[in-house]
């Protein structure tokens, strides 16, 4: 195997993992505040379409990404109003959000199918980007990849080392006690859900502007659900979300390169790999009920109302 091939696999892995990093980190924040949002897939699709449509329309990818964040946050706000203020069932409402997002993006996206878009440019530093090996591995990604690492550092810091993070975790573990101590439970949960929505939007935007720069109906292909599984797999810890996402990115890329490696397996079977891998890692992590009980935010998925 040549060095170039190995480098291509590593960089491909990072790029394929980036949308998962965004979506799963966003969902992690929402879940640590005690809110389970199964609408990630729907928010990603709407984000993907918003970024593509505004990117093509305005010629500015930055505006596209902002539109993606805005659109996905709107959906997240809808979810938050229903589950937090109106106390609907989080599972049912999340499913509704995904079904709605799939329908909305398919409906509004019809006229964008098949259009070209200028993909997100890669970093180009004089000298550094052209270094052998280190260049492509460190200095030639696009801004969103560096952004995803930055987001991880930020979330890890804030969750584990700041007062705000402590408040968020307290709300997720015991909203009743947090409320009794004067913490703004509702506000915290609203903001956490909105943050998750925005991150899903960036994840979607990355799909339609970088990973495959085009709009295709249903293009997230289950990545929103894989992101949800990643949060469980990571036992709600940011570093493990990051590593888990790279693991999945690797599975996706190996599947693409399998032919090159001389593996003769039909492409449909290879395409099953990420989904099979999701099931396998979930089983490995969940096998011991204690792992889940010890790490899952205690109030995850349960409604809380200060008046009740």
């Amino acid at each position: 195997m040549s060095t170039e091939f190995i480098i291509a696999i590593i960089t491909g892995t990072v790029v394929a993992a980036t949308p998962l990093v965004y979506a799963a980190l966003g969902e992690l924040v929402a879940e640590r505040a005690g809110v389970l949002n199964l609408g990630v897939e729907g928010m990603m699709l709407v984000g993907a379409l918003a970024a593509f449509a505004v990117g093509v329309g305005s010629g500015s990818l930055l505006l596209g990404y902002l539109a993606a964040i805005g659109a996905s946050m709107l959906l997240a706000l809808l979810f938050a109003v229903l589950t937090l203020s109106m106390q609907t069932n989080q599972i049912a409402t999340g499913l509704a959000l995904t079904l709605f997002g799939v329908g909305l993006s398919a409906f509004a996206g019809r006229k964008f199918t098949g259009m070209p878009i200028e993909g997100i440019p890669s970093l180009s530093l004089p000298a550094l980007s052209n270094l052998p090996i280190a260049g492509p591995l460190l200095f030639r990604f696009d801004a969103a990849v560096y952004g995803s690492i930055l987001l991880y550092v930020l979330i890890d810091r804030v969750l584990n080392h700041t007062r705000v993070g402590l408040q968020l975790r307290a709300v997720g573990e015991s909203p009743a006690i947090a409320h009794a101590l004067g913490q703004p439970v509702m506000l915290t949960r609203y903001l956490a859900v909105l943050f998750g929505g925005g991150a899903s939007g960036v994840a979607g935007a990355y799909l339609s502007t970088a990973l495959t720069p085009m709009w295709v109906e249903g293009m997230s292909a289950g990545r929103g659900w894989i992101a949800l599984a990643l949060v469980v797999f990571a036992t709600w810890k940011p570093l493990r979300v990051l590593l888990g996402a790279y693991l999945f990115g690797g599975v996706t890329i190996l599947q693409l390169h399998a032919q090159g490696l001389g593996i003769r397996v039909p492409s449909e079977i290879l395409s099953m790999l990420p989904y099979v891998a999701t099931i396998v890692v979930l089983v490995i992590i969940c096998r011991d009920p204690k792992t889940i009980l010890l790490n899952r935010p205690a109030s995850l998925g349960r409604s809380f109302h200060p008046d009740a």
Partner: protein
């Protein structure tokens, strides 16, 4: 805080009137939103709504299409509802439907010659078994390994669709099919009989009504059904009474998977007539909405399936008549479920107007 002129007041007991009214309110709100969407798109909203909801039903053929599409929706919805009532979240009916089609279609393609008059029953049973077997995977993983049935059943949807594509690109492809990914057409003797001539709905509609009756009997007359309802509404009470969670999970997934499998095999042995890559426009996912809008009750589910079926027909109708994308169907479906969830607030709460207090001097 902002002073609202009303406040929500918890009802002493959940309102049974609102439980039935909520889906109707949701449907009305969906129509109203449709009106706004069509107006926003520059179409005459009244004639668009007529094209969407009335036009598809002005012929016998149209009514047949309504029953035809309502059948898989209701079959999947009835099966899912049994699980949802017990807090078992099988959201992979689409995959179980696909496996039902694969297994039933496989028997029809390769073994039907040896089975004589038993061929069609064997095909249908294979479909049910295929769907149930696919649902057995999340059941085993949930009961043995504590793994979320939500994520596993959903992942299995993608795997099932890829499995079907694999078969149709390889061993099961029709050698005379010009390389299209589809099997050869099933023998005409194996196709399900039509309900009436002049339309396309098959006797699968009667299977669906039968399943609705069975599911009513199961939920309201059998102890197994009662145990599941208690587990859904009061898990602590169910645990105290010693009701087995594992048995509930298995029952829910077997019933849901089997019903979805039946839906799949009836689609390919009915209107489709062969195995092909797309056998369902998302019936398994839309059935989740059907189950909720139908209040998890068999009669409600059949009615909700008819409404959802009309949404599919309306989508096709405005695509032809107004050149709008048929995906408007998915939009309406999602809206319907959102409105229902919101309207459900009034089952447990009521609005009480608060008289404005005179401003303090």
């Amino acid at each position: 805080m902002l002073e609202l002129p009303w406040r929500l007041e918890k009802r002493a007991a959940p309102s049974s009137v609102m439980r039935i009214a909520a889906p109707l309110i949701a449907a009305v709100a969906m129509f109203a939103t449709g009106f706004i969407i069509f107006a926003f798109l520059g179409k005459n909203p009244l004639s668009a709504l007529e094209l969407f909801f009335i036009e598809p039903l002005n012929s016998l053929y149209g009514w047949g299409e309504l029953l035809l599409k309502a059948t898989p929706l209701a079959l999947c919805g009835l099966g899912l509802a049994v699980g949802f009532a017990a807090n078992v979240w099988n959201i992979g009916a689409e995959g179980q439907l696909t496996l039902g089609a694969i297994c039933g279609g496989g028997v029809a393609l390769f073994w039907s010659d040896h089975l004589g008059p038993l061929a069609l029953p064997a095909i249908l049973l294979a479909g049910i078994a295929g769907g149930a077997a696919w649902a057995a995977i999340p059941a085993v993983l949930r009961t043995r390994f504590n793994t979320s049935e939500i994520l596993v059943s959903l992942m299995l949807v993608y795997i099932a669709q890829l499995l079907l594509a694999y078969l149709l690109h390889g061993a099961w492809r029709d050698p005379e099919g010009y390389n299209f990914p589809q099997s050869k057409a099933f023998d005409e003797r194996l196709i399900l009989p039509l309900l009436l001539d002049g339309q396309r709905a098959t006797i699968a509609f009667l299977f669906m009504l039968g399943l609705a009756a069975l599911s009513w009997f199961f939920s309201s007359r059998l102890f197994a059904g009662y145990r599941m309802l208690v587990s859904g509404q009061a898990p602590a009470a169910a645990a105290y009474a010693g009701f087995s969670e594992q048995r509930n999970v298995w029952l829910a997934l077997m019933i849901g998977g089997g019903a979805a499998g039946l839906a799949g095999v009836c689609e390919v042995m009915g209107p489709i007539g062969r195995l092909q890559a797309d056998i369902s426009p998302g019936y398994g996912f839309a059935a989740i909405i059907v189950a909720f809008v139908g209040r998890l009750h068999p009669v409600g589910i059949v009615l909700a399936a008819l409404l959802m079926s009309l949404l599919y027909l309306g989508g096709e109708s405005v695509q032809l008549g107004l050149q709008l994308p048929a995906a408007v169907t998915g939009l309406f479906q999602g809206l319907l479920l959102f409105y229902l969830l919101a309207a459900d607030l009034f089952v447990g709460y009521r609005l009480r107007l608060v008289p404005r207090l005179a401003a303090q001097p």
